[in-house]
Structures are given as C-alpha cells and as structure tokens.
C-alpha cells in the first residue's frame, strides 16, 4: 500500500468545523457541506439552490487564522474551521443589531412577526437591544400591487428576492440600486411600481423574503401569533428553509 492511500482521513475530502469532521463533495462551499451534515452556520442571505451572495456576513467563520464567508468559500480538504465560538457569535450579534437599527424593524406592528428570520436570528444570538442609535430612515412603501406588498422599511438587502426572481422565476423583477446607505430595493418596471412588474403570488420571489419586506396581502394573520415558524422552531434547525417556503406557499397553491 502506497503512502498516499494511508493519508490521514482528514485530508480526504473532509473539513473540520468546531472539531467535528464533515465530508464534502468537490465544488461544495463550507456552508453546503455544513448544512448537508446538519451543522448550522448562522446566515440570512443564503438559500440552498440560489447562487451564494456573501453579503449578510453572518456566516463568517474562522479558517485557521483568516475569516471568510462560509456561503462563498469553497470547502478544501483539511480546513480547520471555527464556527460556534463566543467571539464569532458576538460579532454576528453586532451585525444583526446594525441590521435592526438601519431599517425600521418595529416587530410588534409587523405581520411577519414570528415568521421573520431576522427576528429569529436576533433571538438565537441573544440580542436584547439595538445598542447603536436608530437611523429612522424614511423608506418608500409600494402598495400598488393588488396582492403583494413591498415595505422597504424592513428590507435587509439580502437579495434573496433578486436571485429567486432571476434564477428560479426567470423574471428579473427586483434589483438593488444605490450604494452604501443609499442602497435600496428597486422594481424592474417603467414607473418602478410593483403593479407594473411581472411578479405573481406563485413566484418564489414573492415568498422568499426572510423579513417582512415582501408580503402576500390578505394572508398575514392566517397563522396566529404563537403558532408561527419561530414560535415552534429555532432558526438553528437545519433544513427549516424548506419547511418555511412550503408552508408559506400553500395558501396559493
């Protein structure tokens, strides 16, 4: 038997996350491999099946002495990864606080309350307050569409709707325009209004919003507070996205 085949199994298509050895297939990212193995890495802008975006930065992990987004970093044999550490979770909490104070997230008045991944993430990370001064930005609400609501107050610029519309629905309804603090969600139609776009309630883009920015009208309170996704589940339960998407889409299907 040659020396090559006697290699330490850790170098044979496995990575190590917090001491747990995890197999991966060629081409998988660290996030793909972790989720497939049932290991949770906090994330908001990632959704399996959509092109990774790497923007929310909640999935940043430490790989040896450097940090990288798990959703965009390819898994490489032998990587030693730290994920669930107090330091990383503290940084994740700070990022989540910044998302809260930058937008207008008034949970008690939001119909997504209890189904909101941002809110569930904040619970997961033990966020008690926003810490930073509130921005109180004035953002445009688009209620023009008869069945779909767009409230930019709650948009966290994750681009899940942008990617779902482009890659799954084949429509290109949404995009992010502007830079930095001026970045905002825009609608691909002549007047920029949702009513003039191709968006339909059967589109993935109409349901994928992790916060209450894109909502289906007249269905907001079908599931009562107390029986919603994150009343019954933790955001850290791997595979929950599929449950959420299936559940939310049911009323229209």
């Amino acid at each position: 038997m040659s020396a090559d085949t006697k290699q330490n199994p850790i170098t044979q298509n496995t990575i190590t996350i917090d001491g747990q050895e995890i197999p991966f297939l060629a081409g998988q990212t660290i996030m793909d491999a972790a989720l497939a193995a049932g290991v949770y890495i906090p994330h908001l802008c990632h959704r399996q099946g959509l092109t990774p975006h790497g923007s929310c930065k909640l999935c940043v992990v430490d790989i040896a002495s450097r940090s990288a987004s798990a959703c965009t970093m390819p898994a490489v044999a032998g990587q030693q990864i730290s994920n669930n550490t107090p330091a990383l979770n503290e940084a994740r909490k700070t990022i989540t606080q910044m998302l809260f104070i930058e937008g207008n997230h008034i949970c008690p008045s939001c119909e997504k309350c209890g189904d909101c991944t941002l809110q569930a993430m904040a619970y997961h990370l033990g966020m008690l307050g926003g810490h930073f001064p509130q921005f109180f930005q004035r953002r445009e609400v688009d209620a023009s569409h008869p069945t779909i609501m767009l409230d930019r107050d709650r948009c966290i610029l994750c681009e899940l709707c942008v990617r779902a519309s482009r890659e799954v629905d084949g429509k290109d309804v949404f995009a992010i325009a502007g830079r930095g603090i001026n970045a905002h969600l825009v609608v691909n139609s002549v007047r920029g209004k949702l009513v003039d776009s191709d968006l339909e309630t059967s589109d993935m883009a109409a349901h994928i919003c992790p916060v209450g920015a894109i909502l289906i009208k007249e269905h907001g309170y079908e599931v009562p507070i107390g029986q919603r996704t994150f009343d019954l589940h933790q955001v850290s339960e791997v595979g929950l996205e599929k449950t959420i998407l299936t559940k939310v889409r049911q009323p229209d299907e």
Partner: protein
C-alpha cells in the same frame, strides 16, 4: 434586611408593560417581601428618591419625558429599559417618518371627526420632540428587557437575578420582541 427599592414610569408608552408587570398576580405577594416601590404609577409617588432599580417603559417623545428619565438615571443605581418602545422607540417612533407638523395636523386639524380643529398650544403641555427616541439615546441604560410587552415571567426573571446578586439573563424561551 432592607428591601430593594424600585421605581417605575411610563414615558412614551401605553402602560402595557406596567399591566404585564401586574400579570405576576399572586407572585407579587412574594416579590413584595423583598422589594418596595418608590415613584411609580403603582404608588402615585410623584418624584423619584434614591432607588436600587428603575424600570422605564416607553421611549422619549417630549421634554417632560427627558426630565423624568434624567431624574430616574440620577436616582437609580440600575436602570432597565423595559419593552419595545424604551428599547427602540417602538410604535410611537413610527411618527419619525413624518415631520412633527404633519403629525399634529393629521391628528388635530385634518383628522376624521375633528371639531374646532386647532393644534393644542397650552403652556401646561410638554413640548413634543422632533423625533421619538429610545431611552439609551438620552441616558446610560444598564439592562434591556425586550417584549411588547415583556411577560410577567420576564420581569420576575430579571428582578430575581438582580435580587440574587446575579448578572441578569433571559433564557431563549422568554426572549421575544412582540
């Protein structure tokens, strides 16, 4: 052993957090063996004396709120922001998307069913601030108790921890923002 002294107030809030505090029901009896209330809607004491713990419900929307909040900070060893409004402005802060004149005109001039429309302008009325602020914009806050309102269990947990001399913490099942 002397009792722990607590003061409470509602600024730009709805008194819902105070109602929730009272949801402790019979557990209040046991709590009152260890604590006593200073300035609070429960006692009707009008000014805050030296206290161990101050519970602030509501955000800051007018100059009176600022004075009351500063009085609490000066007198309370530990100040706790209670509820969504104290923590991030909450529902009252939704007026921050409009200027003050627009808000007043909507309520007192153009509102449905308004008779003798005029914007109230009595010297006894505290002047409104341009924006509604979370209380940590004005004073240092020691702990945050989220919820709209926080449940009686949350109040008991945070007060219980403080009474036991521990750093307060909320278990995940008690943490909620609505």
């Amino acid at each position: 052993m002397s009792k722990i002294r607590i003061a409470t107030t509602s600024l730009a809030g709805c008194f819902g957090c105070h109602m929730s505090f009272l949801d402790m029901d019979e557990r209040l009896v046991a709590l009152l063996e260890h604590v006593e209330f200073n300035r609070s809607p429960f006692t009707d004491i009008k000014h805050c004396g030296p206290c161990d713990i101050g519970l602030i419900e509501g955000g800051v929307c007018n100059v009176e709120n600022v004075h009351v909040l500063r009085e609490f900070r000066e007198n309370c060893k530990i100040l706790i922001a209670v509820g969504a409004c104290a923590i991030n402005g909450g529902v009252p802060a939704m007026r921050n998307h409009f200027n003050l004149r627009e808000c007043l005109e909507e309520a007192y001039v153009n509102g449905a069913g308004v008779e003798n429309p005029q914007i109230p302008n009595d010297v006894e009325l505290p002047l409104l601030l341009d924006k509604v602020h979370p209380i940590h914009d004005v004073v240092r806050v020691d702990y945050y108790l989220p919820g709209c309102p926080p449940s009686a269990d949350e109040f008991l947990k945070i007060l219980g921890d403080l009474l036991a001399g521990k750093e307060p913490s909320l278990p995940q099942n008690l943490l909620h923002y609505d």
